[in-house]
Subunit: 228 residues, 2 copies
């Protein structure tokens, strides 16, 4: 029986752009676990009320319900240890740092580059919620938050330096093969890819070259995802 | 026979303040490997010419010579696998990200807070080299680079967010016990501790609390180190 996953979608149900849902999609694919994704919109909180919270990803695996991408990663590794995404307790502990780095540095940096673009692709019924919640966090309008992005692009690219330095020495953040660390970063970069047409990386950036390999991994799961 | 390590020292040979040498000191202590440290100054490159490069740490383990803290960490783990500092290939690959983050984000951030203080504690014979090399990198004088540090302190503390987020959930970056990831961050924070009196962290910062545990670890190795 497939795992069921609620997956953030745009007005077009085939546009799947959540950086957290993509981490889970890559982890499931890594382990070869079949998944049935259900398109979900920000305001459909009643549809995931069974998870006792209001955000995706949420997975249902038989009777088991797990929300939060990091918790799902741990659940999958503990429940389906074959084809590990971590590779031991220290590797998992260290991956948590990479997860925290992506959440604190990259998510904010990318939001400042594409948040107004996201508004254009989400379902019309989500727009009031999206604008009100994000403008509350940022303290300015979506338009103001994204304004001047061309000037901020170099700073965002600079914030990827730790990944770039590592990828000079190893093929993947996980070493010779992808690990959940790669799912974290690739999942995060699926967000701008699937919600915006604004290019974030130069083609010859080692991070872009690595991301190309991640797009092709798992049968081209990322490469095949619909983009705006 | 002890491992011999060339260790950056100030005018006072007991002031040991290199963030890279401290990573190695913690890793050696973690493995219970005895070490004899030799105080070394920036301009004493002829003393480490046997390593075919000009930076410390350099270790000599019998006939084996290894330089560069990351290469030394790998060497120690491969040669003395008992009491691991990584804990498997994925953990090592993920730790490399944390090493790159410390090198690219923290080293620059800390330099902007204490570089002029370092000038005051280094050996007088090193001062021309130190000023010329650092002013060449930064494009401004040491004094200008450090100026206004009080206003930049909050930004530096913010740059530690990934570590802070992780330490909310686990005792050490390595999980339930220190790993080389902890040696990287603690070693990096030994630099301002042993070269400056400018306080970088609020006492109630989870990073400061964790650093206190690392200072006490390994028989109080960090706690006992001389400070200016």
């Amino acid at each position: 029986m497939s795992i069921i996953m609620h997956d953030l979608a745009g007005a077009d149900p085939d546009l799947r752009f959540s950086p957290f849902c993509w981490r889970t999609r890559f982890a499931l694919a890594h382990k070869g676990l079949p998944v049935e994704t259900l398109p979900w919109r920000f305001t459909e909180t009643s549809d995931i009320a069974f998870s006792d919270q209001a955000l995706v990803p949420v997975i249902r695996d038989g009777d088991k319900v797990v929300s939060d991408s990091w918790a799902i990663g741990r659940y999958l590794e503990d429940t389906y240890p074959a084809v590990p995404i971590f590779g031991g307790p220290q590797a998992r502990a260290h991956a948590r740092f990479i997860n925290a780095w992506a959440d604190s540095v990259l998510i904010l940096g990318i939001a400042r580059l594409i948040v107004r673009d996201i508004f254009d692709i989400i379902d019309p019924k989500d727009r009031d919620y999206f604008r009100t919640s994000r403008e509350g966090w940022f303290g300015v309008t979506l338009e103001a938050f994204q304004a001047g992005r061309e000037e901020r692009l170099a700073g965002f690219q600079e914030s990827l330096s730790p990944a770039r330095l590592v990828l000079r020495h190893q093929a993947f953040l996980g070493g010779t093969a992808p690990s959940y660390a790669d799912h974290i970063l690739a999942g995060t970069l699926m967000w701008p890819r699937c919600a915006s047409r604004f290019p974030l990386l130069a083609q010859d950036d080692p991070v872009a070259i690595w991301f190309g390999k991640m797009l092709d991994a798992y049968g081209g799961l990322g490469r095949g995802a619909k983009t705006p």
